[in-house]
């Protein structure tokens, strides 16, 4: 599968990754190679097989008791935050 510059720009945008002008052709090339590689799958007969999302066939989701087990530790958790004001995480203005 050969991707175009526009394709890669679109994917980078969806993934919120900045790709510079210089980097773009490199990614176009490598992503095209990767997609061509994985396209070997197209020829495979998978017919009516169920897709597998989990290696644990037969295991089911465990349910947790509804109880409050957490206490306020926001100071510890916010120690890694790049920008905090009044215990709020600060970001450039969100326009609705």
């Amino acid at each position: 599968m050969s991707l175009t510059r526009r394709d890669v720009e679109g994917i980078a945008h969806l993934a919120r990754l900045e790709i510079t002008e210089g980097e773009l052709p490199v990614y176009v090339d490598s992503l095209s190679k990767i997609l061509s590689f994985v396209e070997q799958l197209n020829a495979a007969q998978t017919g009516s097989v169920e897709p597998m999302a989990h290696p644990l066939a037969g295991e089911v989701q465990r349910l947790r008791t509804d109880a409050v087990t957490e206490t306020d530790r926001h100071e510890k958790y916010q120690a890694n935050a790049p920008l905090v004001a009044g215990a709020l995480y600060v970001v450039p203005k969100v326009i609705e």
Binding site: V8, I11, A12, L14, A15, R16, L17, E18, I19, V26, Y27, S30, L31, K33, I34, L35, F37, V38, E39, Q40, L41, N42, A44, T46, V49, E50, P51, M52, A53, H54, P55, L56, A57, E59, Q61, R62, R64, R73, K76, Y77, Q78, A79, N80, A81, P82, L83, Y89, V91, P92, K93, V94
Partner: protein, 486 residues
């Protein structure tokens, strides 16, 4: 025998016999790390103070008579495991200054077992790589040849153990990242069954493939550590609630009568001649030890690499979305607006391979492509799993190569992603099917180690470890240490 030449089992015995203290042992390792790490780049963070505190506590437990089998044994954690109060970088610029506010379950359990934490090891960025060359903090060098890669993504842990800077280290394996480095540096490594060990606190790459495991000098050492790590964790919904066998007690199960399958597909093209010959010789060795060798086939296995390179990127593209410069991790300077915050923080924080995989994943999940790529790959995954299941109806274990070649040169394969991806050709199948698998050293080609891979059925770790142990009782490849680190 020098302290560092000893296995975990031997160190545990020495500590128990009070031949040396945990503090002495820790100091010994720390000194070796200080000397060797500049050349190897295996450690990203050395936790000297913490190590000595852990060791003092271990000696205290020893004196009080409350010591366990692993009390006082030094270990290192791959820098993918969150360690409370200690920088956890995941080999990335994105988490360069990230101090984890909690311990991964694996970390908690090994600490509770009395181990001594020496530090955090280097790795491919976000576990994406097969050579430890994608780390933001520079490549790790193979202790057998500093111009060669140690394998990846657990390259730091592998190199640290191979150079005997630490007797054991944790790793993670998503497509081969414990087994392949173990093979390339001549040590033993085990990836358990999916769900055997908790993923809580282990920074996620591909959630349905990731598993935590051990790198150490021998199968016995792996058994010791795995026993302490494994078991149900209520914090991980994918963790299985099944009892953990006493792996150490079951190590001596003989190989006699064990049916070992040799996969036709593993001895096809791509396997380097001398490497293949060594693997075949080690399989012959298994036969000598009483195993019955059977040829089996998993016909869908050749598509395991393309299958993996759809599923893993898809999952990682989603798992890595949380890195957005808002609550933790790298944030770009003076973002103009929200879009700029996201794009530049992520663009600057992630390296090229990570970005490639995020974009591949984003593409295969996107509207119009989901069925053709992701759904198709998950179907192929079912077929591959079914193939293994059929094989295990005929045999108890599978044996084959871990890696198609010995360690390659640093920089040799970085230009073409596909060439790099094909290093995982033998290891990926076990991840797709969630099976336990190990690599043990089985010889040298041109002075570089080669690994023998063993794969077991779900929750077949005991049998796996016992077979590896039987092999290691008869061979001494696992005892070899590079001259520079002897």
């Amino acid at each position: 025998m020098s302290l560092h030449a000893r296995s975990v089992a031997e160190l545990a015995a020495g500590l128990k016999a009070k031949e040396f203290s945990a503090v002495e042992l820790a100091r010994h390792c720390l000194a070796r790390i200080a000397a060797a790490n500049p050349g190897l780049n295996a450690f990203l963070t050395v936790t000297a103070e913490r190590a000595l505190a852990d060791a003092a506590r271990a000696d205290g437990a020893r004196a009080a008579g409350t010591a366990g089998p692993l009390t006082g044994v030094p270990i290192a954690h791959k820098d993918i495991f969150c360690t409370d109060g200690i920088r956890t970088s995941c080999g990335s610029r994105m988490l360069e200054n990230f101090v984890a506010p909690y311990d991964a379950t694996v970390v908690t359990r090994l600490a509770a077992a009395g181990t001594v934490l020496l530090g955090k090891t280097n790795m491919d960025e976000f576990a994406m790589g097969s050579s430890n060359e994608t780390s933001f903090y520079g490549p790790v060098r193979n202790p057998w040849d500093s111009a060669k890669v140690p394998g990846g993504s657990s390259g730091g842990s592998a190199a640290a153990v191979a150079a005997r800077l630490v007797p054991a280290a944790t790793g993670t394996d998503t497509g081969g990242s414990i087994r392949q480095p173990a093979a390339l540096v001549g040590i033993s490594g085990i990836k358990p069954t999916y769900g055997r060990v908790s993923r809580y606190g282990m920074i996620a790459f591909a959630s349905s493939l990731d598993q935590a495991g051990v790198l150490a000098a021998s199968a016995e050492d792996c058994a010791l550590l795995l026993g302490a790590m494994a078991g149900f964790d209520p914090n991980d919904s994918t963790s299985v609630d099944a009892p953990v066998p006493d792996y150490v007690a079951e190590l001596n199960a003989p190989l006699k009568g064990v049916r070992v399958g040799v996969l036709k597909e593993f001895f096809a093209q791509g396997l380097e001649g001398a490497t293949g010959a060594l693997v075949e010789a080690s399989i012959a060795q298994l036969r000598e030890l009483g195993a019955e060798i059977v040829e089996v086939s998993c016909p869908n296995l050749p598509l395991s690499v393309p299958t993996y390179y759809v599923v893993a990127p898809a999952e990682c593209s989603s798992n890595l979305s949380r890195f957005d410069g808002v609550r933790f991790g790298h944030r770009c300077r003076e973002p103009r607006d929200l879009m700029d915050l996201y794009k530049r923080s992520r663009g600057e924080g992630f390296g090229a391979e990570v970005k490639r995989r995020i974009m591949t994943g984003t593409y295969v999940l996107s509207a119009g492509y989901y069925d053709a790529y992701y759904l198709k790959a998950q179907k192929m995954r079912s077929l591959i799993t079914a193939d293994f299941k059929s094989a295990f109806a005929k045999v108890d274990l599978l044996a084959g190569p871990t890696s198609p070649t010995p360690a390659f040169g640093i920089g040799a394969k970085v230009d073409d992603p596909i060439t790099m991806y094909l290093n995982d050709i033998y290891t990926i199948g076990a991840n797709l099917a969630g099976l336990p698998a190990m690599s043990v050293p089985c010889g040298f080609v041109g002075g570089l180690p080669v690994g023998l891979q063993l794969i077991g059925p779900h929750f077949g770790e005991s049998r796996l470890l016992a077979a590896a142990h039987a092999y290691q009782r008869e061979t001494d490849f696992h005892r070899r240490v590079p001259a520079a680190y002897a």
